[in-house]
Subunit: 170 residues, 2 copies
């Protein structure tokens, strides 16, 4: 199965992100707003049990933490993705690192920049227009992260939750 | 928060259902294919912890079970919903009953008919056409149910998973 590991922020943050994603993100209907901890990787069905055991260990040994977002940012010139920037946060970076070290499959070859995408597949002109407007926005979103989710992808490209892992339960 | 409790069947069953939902179900992009165990109910944010404790108790005291579906059916004349009929199954009925007794909020006033909706909000003519074709299909879907999910609804009508509850873990 094609899997991914994400954090779904609170309803408040998701609603805020969706108000932009609706217009600017073609993945709007495929997955709720999320922070990707581990991008798509593939595990055979018979490997799922072992994987969830590992994820349980990681979730048990990491505590809930706070995140904050105060602005939009963009990956341009690498790509035209506009996102809610999640402020640098040791607990989040540590969780991401542990997940990618423990599940050493299809690991990304780029640095972890915690974010919630709100605009994707924009042309250069669209990106310039939209980002020019969004970067003026001022806000202060704060949220508690106390869980992450293992997802799998369906044939239509959408994602279903396989399991939730709560942080620091034991 | 507006909540719901559902079973997501396996990827195989979800892909099968989605091949029909894509055309006939306006909720296609709001939620993956599912069996509703408890339809929408509302719980204040401060009640979530207590709710998840109750759901944990229920999931621990119910074992995984098999389900089967061999045909499409329809709720007409009550409404024009076409669905994958889930065969009668004691474990499923018991789980649904326990959930609705334990979480005695906004309980439905109709009998539990386990199903996966594939067509909704069809006109009478559409319903007649589509159901006339689908009811000829022969298949035998079998699946193991070993978890259920607590979801919450976002402002755009889509559903996000709050937590997964695995059956018979303890």
């Amino acid at each position: 199965m094609k899997l991914g590991i994400v954090i779904f922020p609170s309803k408040k943050v998701q609603d805020f992100a969706n108000s932009y994603r609706k217009r600017y993100d073609p993945n709007y209907s495929l997955i709720p707003p999320h922070i990707t901890l581990k991008p798509a990787f593939t595990v055979p069905d018979e490997g799922m049990e072992q994987l969830t055991i590992k994820l349980n260990e990681i979730s048990n040994s990491n505590k809930p933490f706070q995140i904050q977002s105060t602005k939009f940012s963009s990956f341009k010139p690498v790509n035209n993705v506009i996102y809610l920037k999640i402020d640098s946060c040791d607990e989040l970076s540590e969780l991401q690192k542990k997940l990618n070290e423990t599940i050493d499959i299809d690991n990304p070859e780029y640095a972890f920049v915690p974010h919630i995408s709100v605009g994707q597949k924009l042309s250069d002109d669209e990106h310039s227009d939209v980002y020019g407007t969004l970067r003026m926005n001022q806000f202060n979103l704060e949220d508690t992260v106390d869980r992450f989710h293992l997802l799998y992808q369906l044939e239509n490209g959408s994602w279903t939750v396989y399991e939730t892992f709560r942080l620091g339960r034991e």
